[in-house]
Structure formats: structure tokens, C-alpha cells
């Protein structure tokens, strides 16, 4: 249990070293080590600490946020196919971001607008699913799916009426792009704090995965717990899309892969999701900026291309 987390932690560090070393200028391991120790040439220091390190951290934070949000949503909806985007959160964020881009706003406003859009989507879905009576997981899921489809239509409409010179930036945002990240710290800090906060609740989540009634019979206050998960997962998703646009697949695939390997104990799955989601996005982003350098690919394409075959292989191999 601790061994698998330790292994994932080593993997995360290795992927970050890999991401720092690789790029338009390749840095040798010896030079990398010198910079880590606080030495090395000024060029290397600027390149690594000012350019590549923030981007790598942003990628790690975003990937971790999306994977943890996915793991939480799956328990909340008792549905292994749930992920933050299924509930229309990224759709709301995208509409917010595109609206700001359409009006020619700067990156700060775009980020803020994306965050506001995600939170609006959260409130909208939860309010509608609540309706007049109590909400059930399937009702929440259906509401989310339909609202997400609505956002999709609005996005298509906006793209259709946008002057063509503005389109590439918008499309990159929609496909997810870590180079948008202004600062890695919101993502990294929110990820670290939320994983620490959620750990005492992890065993409650294990019980909740058995159904709301069973959880209540075993002493879980179901409604407050479900609210906490929903708000937290929304916050994590909003922070992630604000940092790097809408990156698909991480939230769905990473927790699922980990469950296939490690079982379904949330005390392991949640921190493991943070580490593995971060690692996946760091690797994907490194590929995205090196495969056809100096051109860059949208990182969302890479996560899907890496994630889908891995996932299918694990699913095929599992019991």
C-alpha cells in the first residue's frame, strides 16, 4: 500500500526530471543535477527554473487535480464512468473562457472567466438535479450530461461566429494547453491541500461506494459527505481548467487504471490519483512540446493517445 504510493512518487519525480531535461535545448543529467544543487550556468538556470519548471509543475498540478476530481466524482455517482467533464463543468469553463477570448480580454480575465463558468455550471447542475425532491446519482448524472450537451452547442455557436484569426487560440484552449498556465502555484497548492483534507474522509468514501443506505447504516452522514465531495470535485476541476484549458481523459482514465491495479480503497486511490494524474500530464506535455518542436501539440491529444491504449490494455488484462 505505502509501497505502491512510494513507487508512484518516484515515477512522478522521474517524469519531472525527464520533462526538465528535454526540450528545444536538451540538458544533460549532470547539468540538471548542478542546477538542482543551485549551481550551473546562467543559461541553464534560466531555462530550467524560469521556463521549464513552472510549466512542468503546472502540468503536474493540473493532471493531479483532474484525476482526483474524477476519482471523487466516480464515488459520488457510484458510476465508474463518471468524470468531471461528464457533469458539464468543463463545458461551463470553456464557455466562460471563449467568451473572454471573443471579447479580446487578457489571459488573467480568461482564467477568471473560465473559473466563473465552471462554478456556474456546478451550481446549475446541482440546482437542477435537486429539483423538487431529493437527487439520486443517476439524476445528477443525467442532468450533468444534458447540461454538458447544452454547453457543447453554445461552444459550437461561438466558434461559428468567431472571426477566423481568433480561432487557433480558442481551439488550443478547448483541447487543453499547459502553455496557458500563468502560474503553477494555484494548481499545485489546491491539489496538495485538498488531498490532505480528503484523506480523513477516504474511509467514508469507501463505505459510500457501497450505496447511500448502506453507508448511512454504517454511520456515515451521507448528505453532508456528498455535498463536500461535489463542491470539492468542482473546485478541483475549476482550478484545473483555469490552469490549462479543458484536458480530457485524465479524470476518467487515471482513477480507473489505478483501481484495476490497486483495488478500490480510496485511502490509496486518492493520493495515487494525484501522483499518477500528475505524472501522466507531465509526460504528455513533454511529448506535446518536443514531438514536432518547435511547433507544439495540444496536450489533450497526447493524453488521449497515451491513455486510451493503456486503459484498453489494462481492461483487457483484468479479471
Amino acid at each position: 500500500m505505502t509501497r505502491s504510493l512510494l513507487g508512484l512518487g518516484m515515477l512522478a519525480l522521474a517524469s519531472m526530471a525527464f520533462a526538465l531535461a528535454l526540450g528545444s535545448v536538451t540538458v544533460s543529467p549532470a547539468d540538471l543535477w548542478q542546477v538542482i544543487q543551485g549551481e550551473g550556468s546562467t543559461l541553464h538556470r534560466t531555462l530550467l527554473l524560469d521556463l521549464r519548471l513552472p510549466r512542468t509543475l503546472a502540468a503536474f498540478g493540473t493532471g493531479g487535480l483532474l484525476a482526483v476530481a474524477g476519482a471523487l466524482m466516480q464515488v459520488l455517482l457510484r458510476n465508474p464512468l463518471a468524470d468531471p467533464y461528464v457533469l458539464g463543468l468543463s463545458g461551463g469553463a470553456a464557455v466562460g473562457a471563449l467568451l473572454a477570448m471573443l471579447m479580446g480580454m487578457g489571459t488573467l480575465i480568461i482564467s477568471g472567466s473560465a473559473f466563473a463558468g465552471a462554478m456556474l455550471a456546478t451550481v446549475l447542475v446541482f440546482g437542477l438535479a435537486h429539483g423538487t425532491g431529493s437527487w439520486t446519482p443517476s439524476r445528477l448524472l443525467l442532468t450533468g450530461v444534458v447540461v454538458a450537451a447544452g454547453w457543447g452547442a453554445v461552444i459550437t455557436l461561438m466558434l461559428a461566429i468567431t472571426p477566423s484569426y481568433k480561432l487557433p487560440g480558442m481551439l488550443y484552449w478547448l483541447m487543453g494547453d499547459v502553455s496557458y498556465a500563468r502560474s503553477p502555484w494555484p494548481a499545485v497548492v489546491v491539489l496538495a491541500v485538498s488531498v490532505v483534507l480528503i484523506m480523513p474522509l477516504a474511509r467514508n468514501l469507501n463505505v459510500l461506494a457501497r450505496g447511500a443506505m448502506q453507508a448511512a447504516a454504517l454511520g456515515v452522514s451521507v448528505r453532508p459527505l456528498e455535498w463536500t465531495i461535489y463542491v470539492l470535485a468542482s473546485l478541483l476541476t475549476a482550478t484545473a481548467v483555469t490552469t490549462a484549458g479543458s484536458i480530457g481523459f485524465v479524470g476518467l482514465i487515471v482513477p480507473h487504471m489505478l483501481r484495476l491495479i490497486l483495488g478500490n480503497d480510496q485511502r490509496i486511490i486518492l493520493p495515487a490519483s494525484a501522483l499518477a494524474g500528475g505524472t501522466l500530464l507531465v509526460l504528455a506535455d513533454t511529448l506535446a512540446r518536443t514531438v514536432i518542436a518547435p511547433e507544439q501539440l495540444p496536450v489533450g491529444v497526447i493524453t488521449a493517445l497515451l491513455g486510451v491504449p493503456t486503459f484498453l490494455y489494462l481492461l483487457h488484462r483484468s479479471r
Binding site: R78, N79, P80, M199, P200, L201, R203, N204, N206, V207, A209, R210, G211, M213, Q214, A216, A217, L218, G219, V220, S221, R259, G263, N264, D265, R267, R319
Partner: protein, 255 residues
């Protein structure tokens, strides 16, 4: 030891008149059997007694404190429930399933220790499912899953055991084994309350019986006073044949 009392309790079966208010005292050492036709409200009653459903009126008291005033966690240490239907959206092993019974006893930062593990293994052994402990729940038969659910309650080890048709899916041998377990647990000071469909199991293993009628009527009392053929025929709207065998009365539905 814990006692469960109902004070003028009317359970909330949608679209049914209030019927007869329940004033029962379910005490340690007793095994109660609830009998009634489909839709009479047996499961609703069980969930109301566990505080999972609100009553239409009246209250349920756990050791003379109203259930609604207690925290779920406090209730879960005193009272446990085996559901008739279980949902398993995520794969889990038999041992993991039994171990969640320890949840109400552990603080947020605790993980299951050797003692919890030992209790779970012992419960699985008692229910003859210990050889399945590493198997995934969704690969088991219905009867095996039923026994795992009872083992989970045994691992939880509350004073009050509520079980919704615990003999469902069980073969004859395990029906007897489970009913003996209920009697043994009551003998050790537990309070046991079961929904049943089998009159003969109730006749043989229950100390008290509650008859729940579709229209909301109810009557309860010691088993010897309750299992009268006339009352049972009215309960199920089904003619019964009674046989005497081995010093016991056996009920068989007439064709």
C-alpha cells in the same frame, strides 16, 4: 445490551392510511420475526427502526433516546442492518466487504488493525465463506453474497441486529445455520429483529412475532400466541394446512 422501543409509530408507506400504531418493546435476548404479505411495509418498518426513513408519526427510541436525536455514527455502533438488496458498483473482495463493518468503530485517521481483521475473519468463518475471502463479490452466488452481508453485520457487532429476509437465497442447511446464529446471538444478549417469509422458520426460531397487514393493521406478541392458523390465513389471504410433526406445528400452503 440495547432495547428498541416504538412509541405510537406509524410507518410511512406511501398512499396507505395510518393503520394501527406500533408500541413495541424489542428487548435483548429476543428474536423477533416480522411476517406479512408483499408490500405490507416490512422493509419500510425495518428502515424506519434503523432511522434511515422518517416515520409518518410517533418515534423510535434506542435505549429510551429518540433515534432522530442521535448521530448516525452513534446509532451505527448500537444498531446494524442487513439490506434485502445491495448495490456493488465497484469491485470489492469478500474480506474488504466484511471489514467495512468496522467503519463506525474507527476514527477518521485509523485504519483496520489486527483486531478488526480477526473479527472479520471470524465472522466469515462462522458464515462458511472464509474460503472465499479473496474472491470478488460479484463472482459469488446469491446465497454466498447473502452470507457475506450477514458476516459484515457480525463484524460490525452492534447490540441490535435488524435483518431483511436473511434467509433469502440460502440453501436449507444455511437457513438453519443462520437462524441458529440469530438465536445464539440473542442468547448472548443481542436484540434481533428479522423480516421473514417462512412461517416455519419463524415458528421454530423466533421468540416474538409481528404480523403486518397490507392495510396497515398490525398485531404482535410471543410466538406461541401469534401463529394461529386463522390469523395467518387472513394475513396472507391463503388457506393453510397445519401438520404436527416432531412435536412442532408445521404450516403448509393449501393448493
Amino acid at each position: 445490551m440495547s432495547t428498541l422501543n416504538t412509541r405510537d409509530l406509524i410507518i410511512n408507506v406511501p398512499g396507505r392510511p395510518d393503520g394501527f400504531a406500533l408500541n413495541m418493546s424489542i428487548e435483548p435476548g429476543q428474536v423477533w420475526g416480522v411476517l406479512g404479505p408483499n408490500g405490507a411495509g416490512k422493509t419500510t418498518l425495518l428502515h424506519t427502526l434503523a432511522g434511515l426513513l422518517p416515520a409518518r408519526s410517533g418515534q423510535v427510541q434506542l435505549n429510551s433516546a429518540p433515534l432522530t436525536a442521535l448521530k448516525r455514527r452513534v446509532i451505527a455502533r448500537q444498531l446494524g442492518l442487513v439490506f434485502q438488496e445491495r448495490q456493488d458498483s465497484f469491485p470489492a473482495t469478500v474480506l474488504e466487504t466484511a471489514l467495512i463493518g468496522r467503519h463506525p468503530w474507527l476514527s477518521p485517521w485509523d485504519s483496520e488493525q489486527g483486531e478488526d481483521q480477526r473479527r472479520a475473519e471470524q465472522a466469515l468463518t462462522t458464515l462458511d465463506v472464509d474460503h472465499l475471502s479473496d474472491r470478488l463479490l460479484n463472482t459469488l452466488s446469491g446465497g454466498e453474497r447473502q452470507r457475506v452481508a450477514i458476516a459484515t453485520l457480525m463484524t460490525q457487532n452492534p447490540n441490535i441486529w435488524l435483518l431483511d429476509e436473511p434467509t433469502n437465497h440460502l440453501d436449507l442447511h444455511h437457513q438453519v445455520k443462520v437462524m441458529n446464529l440469530m438465536r445464539d446471538q440473542a442468547g448472548a444478549g443481542k436484540t434481533v429483529f428479522l423480516c421473514l417469509h417462512d412461517l416455519n422458520l419463524a415458528a421454530r426460531w423466533c421468540s416474538h412475532v409481528l404480523l403486518l397487514y397490507t392495510n396497515g393493521d398490525a398485531c404482535w406478541g410471543p410466538v406461541a400466541n401469534m401463529l394461529v392458523p386463522d390469523a395467518l390465513e387472513r394475513l396472507y389471504d391463503q388457506r393453510l394446512i397445519t401438520l404436527q410433526a416432531d412435536g412442532l406445528t408445521v404450516f403448509v400452503p393449501a393448493p
